[in-house]
Amino acid sequence: MIKRVGKQTICTENKPKIISTMSVVGPKEGKGPLKDYFDMILQDDTDGQKSYEKAESSMANRAINGCIKKGNLKEEDINYLISGDLLNQLTASNFAVRSLNIPYIGVYGACSTMALSLGLAAMIIAGDFANYVLAATSSHFSTAERQFRTPLEMGSQRLPTSQWTVTGAGAMLLGRNGNFPYISYITTGKVKDYGESDPNNMGAAMAPAAVDTIKQHLQDTGRKPSDYDIIATGDLGKHGKEITEKLLLEYNYDIKNRYIDCGVEIYDLEKQNVNCGGSGCGCSAVVASGYIYKNMLKGKFKRVLLVSTGALMSTTSYQQGETIPGIAHAVSIEFGGSSR
């Protein structure tokens, strides 16, 4: 029987389990409010490498290897590695996995890559195509600035709506058995573009996609916001978060009391000079692998909806006058609560 509900959601029947996670972050993230939840905090954001791109690959490689080790497995046991990042041609991921002997699927979802890769990994297991699948993603402040914005020493003032790309890599290992947080539903998002053209205001550009995916997930599964302990978007930032809350009210979904945004949680917005908060695919990766997963193991959260959000513009699209399309993917993770 087909394992789907509603329009855009898969219902996993064999409940793929997240058997281990690993989060590696840079110094700035290691000074933020969630510092105690990260597995590894680097003192130097070059990780001893000759370029920032190599540093990001190195961090991603640490996260992947660390995750496999924590799951008490070896490389040979992993059937697929699904990974992505923000860089052209997925540079960071390709070179991170070069030293690994695991069949590799590179994916691009901009900052939605964590939920995208996790959802795909869960689908592969739900379809009985694998025993173990690893989902990973990374981002790095300096590599993102180089590619999308201006040289690091360039004297330009940040706008109040801008966000700070997280230097972080997160990995999650999925398996079939064991008593672990598991994935119950996967809602794949559609591209939504409501006409926001300012690349310094990506939170707003992505909000419509987050709204659409959350709305569709709840409609497809028949759940209410109160069925979740938290609904966590990836990196809408302070401004994008407010827009999402308000737009969801149009669908009669009030998520206010259980809604967090990983970009707002990962930094101290007052003290760390990050304007609207963190961004980057590493943002939801490390917050989900660290803060969310560890709190689920402790029993603090029993049901979480992870909604990583991405802005699908390129370095040339906005120069050509294009607006910014957004996308959001949702994965429902449960542990210890009542089953559906």
Binding site: E153, M154, G155
Partner: protein, 149 residues
């Protein structure tokens, strides 16, 4: 639940216009004025110094420009210029020190890609338009001046 998506788009436009955090214009103008003014004061100080040291008047401008370009390049090289710029905004962009920063910062950034295709090729990615349109407009002004006088 059927919601007209156009209604949502309209509300989205309203929210992005009204609820968007706006920069504190007055504070930024004051900061730019002060820091920009300080940079110009420093330039004037060098002007006075060079004048005292006996530099002829028609060369003073060149000497001061060279010095201020060096100051901008140096502060960029040691990683301070962008921190001042975060505070000062236009106050650091407009003076010639900002122009130096816009050339030195990509030169530093792209060293990883080598001295030919990195540093040399990418050095003018920010300053390029300034050079192109600055030189072009001075040529046009020159032609107009030629015909008028």
């Amino acid at each position: 639940m059927k919601i007209n998506e156009n209604k949502l788009k309209k509300e989205f436009k309203q929210l992005t216009e009204n609820d968007k955090p706006k920069p504190q214009l007055l504070t930024h103008c004051v900061r730019a004025f002060i820091i920009g003014g300080v940079i110009c004061d420093i330039g004037q100080m060098f002007n006075n110094l060079y004048s005292k040291l006996g530099v002829p008047n028609d060369l003073l401008g060149a000497y001061v420009s060279i010095t201020m370009v060096f100051v901008g390049a140096f502060l960029t090289g040691i990683g301070i210029y962008d921190k001042i710029a975060e505070y000062a905004g236009a106050g650091t962009v407009v003076p010639i020190t900002g122009f130096a920063n816009s050339i030195v910062s990509p030169a530093m950034e792209f060293k990883k890609e080598g001295f030919v295709f990195g540093v040399a090729a990418k050095m003018f990615i920010i300053a390029g338009p300034v050079l192109v349109y600055g030189v072009t407009s001075s040529v046009i002004v020159g032609i107009v001046y030629y015909f008028i006088s």
